[in-house]
């Protein structure tokens, strides 16, 4: 019961943050509401018994990645977003279509999925067992992601570096 209450409270906080991200027109407000979404998702992970994923979610997502976002927003001095009008047809067709589709999908998932309830802490999500899996079964993907991160760092440095002014011929 407590599990369900915690799930509902943090699920509502999560959805409210996601909707606030859409409604706000200033990017810094959107970034802060995205942090709220990520923090409440960490609580959902804890409820599922994935403690290590919850910790990494807070450290990497809500910490590192969002600091990067906020830093870039401050650096570029991003102001209010100008609204542009979308097409009228997409509003007329899209919104009812989206509501019908989502209600149908939620109804099918809730009534016909036939899955058992997920128990609190059902999974042995201890860091040791995850490390066992990560460094044995998934060793190759793990190494490939390290190369990916290295390439991403180099790409970021190359892309964000100020382009050097062209040296005139024969001067240097």
């Amino acid at each position: 019961m407590l599990h369900l209450i915690l799930f509902s409270v943090f699920g509502l906080v999560c959805v409210a943050g996601a909707i606030n991200l859409l409604v706000q027109s200033h990017p810094i407000n959107s970034a802060l509401s995205l942090i709220v979404v990520m923090g409440s998702l960490a609580v959902e992970y804890l409820l599922l018994g994935a403690e290590f994923v919850a910790a990494v979610q807070v450290i990497v997502y809500a910490g590192a990645i969002m600091v990067l976002f906020v830093f870039v927003i401050m650096l570029l001095n991003a102001g209010e977003e100008e609204r542009t009008k979308g097409s009228r047809v997409s509003l007329l067709i899209g919104i009812p279509g989206m509501i019908i589709g989502s209600v149908l999908m939620a109804w099918v998932l809730i009534t016909h999925s036939g899955t058992h309830a997920v128990e609190a802490g059902a999974l042995p999500g201890a860091p040791g067992e995850i490390a066992q899996l990560l460094f044995h079964e998934f060793l190759l993907p793990f190494e490939v992601t390290s190369i990916l991160v290295l390439i991403a760092i180099m790409g970021a440095v190359v892309l964000a570096a100020r382009p050097e002014p062209l040296q005139p011929e024969g001067k240097s």
Binding site: V15, S30, A31, M38, A50, V53, L159, A160
Partner: protein
Amino acid sequence: MVPLSYYLVLSGILFACGVTGFLIKRNIITIFMSIELMLNGVNLSFVAFAAQWHQLSGQVFVFFVMVVAAAEATVGLAIIIAVFRTRETLNVDQVNLLKL
């Protein structure tokens, strides 16, 4: 005890919010944050299925998604800085050099 479907519905709502933000927002940074929101929705369904079937592989996949998201964030924000430096704007409607 929370049914698995509740987690899936929550993850679907997050993903739908991300798609909506991607389509309706005009600020390039906010569009980028909507992509992160979509990735978070997917992560939630990964962890929920991992708990459902007692498979830790789902959680390991969440780590890979996070690493890819981090790499994407660094490169994407560098691209945003480069775009801002050349075009002096963050509005995607004004970044239309490739448009016919």
